[in-house]
């Protein structure tokens, strides 16, 4: 169970004079749920953007283990990251408002369409069958997330909780080995957060994925994560089980300030 899946080695990233991420190293093992926490502006989202190759000019190395071979993610184009089995969501839900929920899921399966535009124009048998199989896959995921009835509605106008679910559903379309969730519980009410907790555990079990998430809701993070990485001002503070993180003096200091 404890095979490493994602390895960050001395990753640094700065914007001008600001060091957003400073010499950060940690490892996520296969099958884990890992939380990345830190006060506002600690550089959490920047770490995610480096991992998913939205930022290319970071220092250090990020490896992703695929079929027992470690892959330097820097060599991989941002649009090819998903094909490696690494997929993410965004802090502010990034969906296509004027497509139906079903079509939004199919966007997540973009790479799995093998037929070209000519086949689509002619609607060849192969193209139709491909569309059908992927639609059925989407139905399965929508049923799993309990939003199947909404599939033909536009995303625009859906409640925030549903949009968050759609974004997770979209990541599942790519059969990911690892899902990176950027604040999945932000904007959700208490009941929805509890639901999300169950849901993320279910996803881990059913889809056999590893999950790395940023979250500010501490009780949520403590309940759900196997291990937690704490960072402050881009610097590594600690990586440990939720219990030990809570006791960690440095983490307490970062959040609450020093007792003078």
């Amino acid at each position: 169970m404890s095979k490493p899946l994602l390895v960050l080695e001395n990753v640094s990233m700065h914007f001008g004079g600001l060091k957003a991420v400073d010499n950060l190293s940690f490892t996520v093992n296969e099958g884990e749920i890992v939380g990345l926490i830190g006060p506002n502006g600690a550089g959490k989202t920047t770490v995610f953007n480096c991992i998913t190759q939205f930022y290319k000019n970071y220092q250090g190395n990020i490896y992703f283990v695929k079929e027992d071979q470690s892959l330097d993610l820097r060599d991989i184009d941002v649009t090819k990251v998903i094909a490696q089995g690494l997929v993410r969501t965004f802090q502010n839900v990034e969906l296509i408002p004027d497509l139906s929920i079903l079509d939004n899921l199919l966007v997540g399966a973009h790479n799995q369409f093998k037929t070209g535009i000519v086949a689509h124009i002619l609607r060849t048998k192969k193209a139709r069958e491909e569309e059908k199989t992927l639609k059925e896959k989407a139905y399965g995921i929508l049923k799993f997330l309990d939003i199947f009835e909404l599939k033909d509605f536009y995303v625009k106008g859906q409640p925030y909780g549903v949009m968050k679910k759609i974004e997770i559903a979209r990541t599942l379309m790519s059969d990911p080995k690892m899902i990176i969730l950027d604040e999945p519980a932000a904007g959700l009410n208490d009941r929805e957060t509890d639901e999300l907790e169950v849901l993320i555990n279910e996803i881990k079990k059913q889809y056999k994925t590893t999950i790395l998430l940023i979250e500010h809701d501490m009780s949520f993070v403590m309940n759900i994560c196997d291990r937690i990485v704490a960072i402050n001002f881009g610097k590594f503070l600690a990586m440990d089980t939720p219990k030990n993180i809570q006791k960690n003096a440095e983490v307490q200091e970062a959040y609450l300030g020093r007792d003078e």
Binding site: T52, F54, D77, V78, T79, K80, V81, I82, A83, V87, R88, F90, E94, L95, I96, P97, D98, L99, D103, L106, V107, G108, H110, N111, F113, I117, H120, I121, L122, R123, A127, E131, R170, S174
Partner: protein
């Protein structure tokens, strides 16, 4: 009685099976438009009216291409007219050089398509208003080429009767053949509508929309901006050029001075007024912008009719910012509301 039921059942099954097929409405729509081509023979319609409808049919194809850019991909082009001109004039030049129609059309499409790809590459570097300016000058360069180069014949290129597959000859001058030509361009329009529908409902259409609505999400989902910007521009230019070929095919006499910025702007207005992201909306837009002033307003107001069409366009944009075609949803809502009210009344009566 039993037989009647069976017949009804039989047709019910057929209509259910065919009716669900997505291309059926396009074909029905095409049949309605095609009938216009034969009305002048019966004296119910003037020949000029048919000419206006031919223009509408042609520009529906052009505007659909721009809709792919504007409505789906969030990109803009002010050079549309240049490419319509490329289609029409290029066809004329190649036919006059002695090429058969089919080959000439294919060559024009390939040339214009590669130019579209170039603009697509360029669009990766520039955004928004700068892209508009760049395409504006592409259109302007094309217009200058058409009017200055001798190969385009100065004022206009006369194509004359067009031969299909080397033996069927159709000329604009013969009234019956003109109807056939109208039927032909309507068929072409329906074909392009189906192509558009299939593109939009496929992976490509979704990728284009993802690209314009959220660039980051698109990239994270594996959609290459380079590939789909190119696709968008190539498709748009191909549609515009195809419209130009239809123009050359129907009118058989192509002016060199008509492909101005004005026309490009009118095509944008057609898309915006008719309905972004809507195929029938595009037709509606062309009808409002070109059809209404030319079919009716001109008869009453003469040259100032464009003032009225201007007012009409402003009204449409105020009340239907996403396009006039969305009036359909309002009508539907109204219908359902009245139906509900009527049903309520029935229930009260019954009680």
């Amino acid at each position: 009685m039993k037989i009647l039921n069976q017949v009804e059942n039989f047709f019910g099954i057929i209509s259910k099976k065919i009716g669900k097929h997505p291309i059926v409405p396009f074909i029905l729509f095409g049949l309605v438009i095609a009938s216009i081509g034969f009305l002048p023979h019966t004296g119910l319609m003037r020949w000029g009216t048919m000419g206006v409808f031919a223009y509408i049919v042609i520009f529906t194809v052009v505007a659909m291409g721009l809709n792919l850019l504007l409505g789906f991909s969030g990109l803009i082009s002010l050079g549309t007219a240049g490419f319509v001109g490329a289609g029409a004039l290029g066809l004329g030049v190649f036919i006059n050089l002695g090429f058969p129609f089919e080959l000439a059309a294919l060559m024009v499409l390939i040339i214009a398509g590669s130019m579209g790809a170039l603009i697509g590459l360029f669009s990766l570097k520039v955004e928004g208003i700068y892209l508009a300016i760049a395409t504006l000058f592409v259109g302007e360069i094309l217009r200058q080429i058409y009017t200055q180069l001798e190969i385009f014949g100065g004022q206009a290129i006369r194509i004359g009767a067009i031969r299909f597959f080397g033996f069927i000859e159709l000329s604009m001058i013969n009234q019956f053949q003109r109807s056939i030509l109208f039927l032909l361009i309507t068929t072409m329009m329906v074909m392009m509508m189906i192509i558009m529908h299939n593109i939009v409902k496929s992976k490509t259409g979704r990728a284009l929309m993802a690209m314009s609505r959220s660039q980051h999400a698109a990239q994270a989902m594996g959609i290459s901006l380079l590939k789909y910007r190119l696709t968008a521009f190539v498709l748009a230019t191909l549609f515009a050029t195809f419209g130009g070929i239809m123009y050359g095919l129907y009118y058989q006499n192509v002016p060199t001075t008509a492909w101005t910025l004005d026309l490009s702007l009118f095509v944008i207005a057609m898309v915006v007024v008719g309905g972004m992201k809507s195929i029938y909306g595009t037709f509606l837009g062309v009808f409002i912008i070109h059809g209404i002033p030319n079919l009716w307003l001109k008869n009453y107001f003469g040259d100032i009719s464009y003032i009225f069409s201007g007012i009409l366009i402003i009204l449409v944009i105020i009340f239907y910012p996403y396009g006039f075609v969305y009036i359909w949803y309002d009508l539907k809502r109204l219908y359902i509301k009245h139906k509900l009210r009527w049903m309520k009344k029935q229930v009260i009566k019954d009680e």
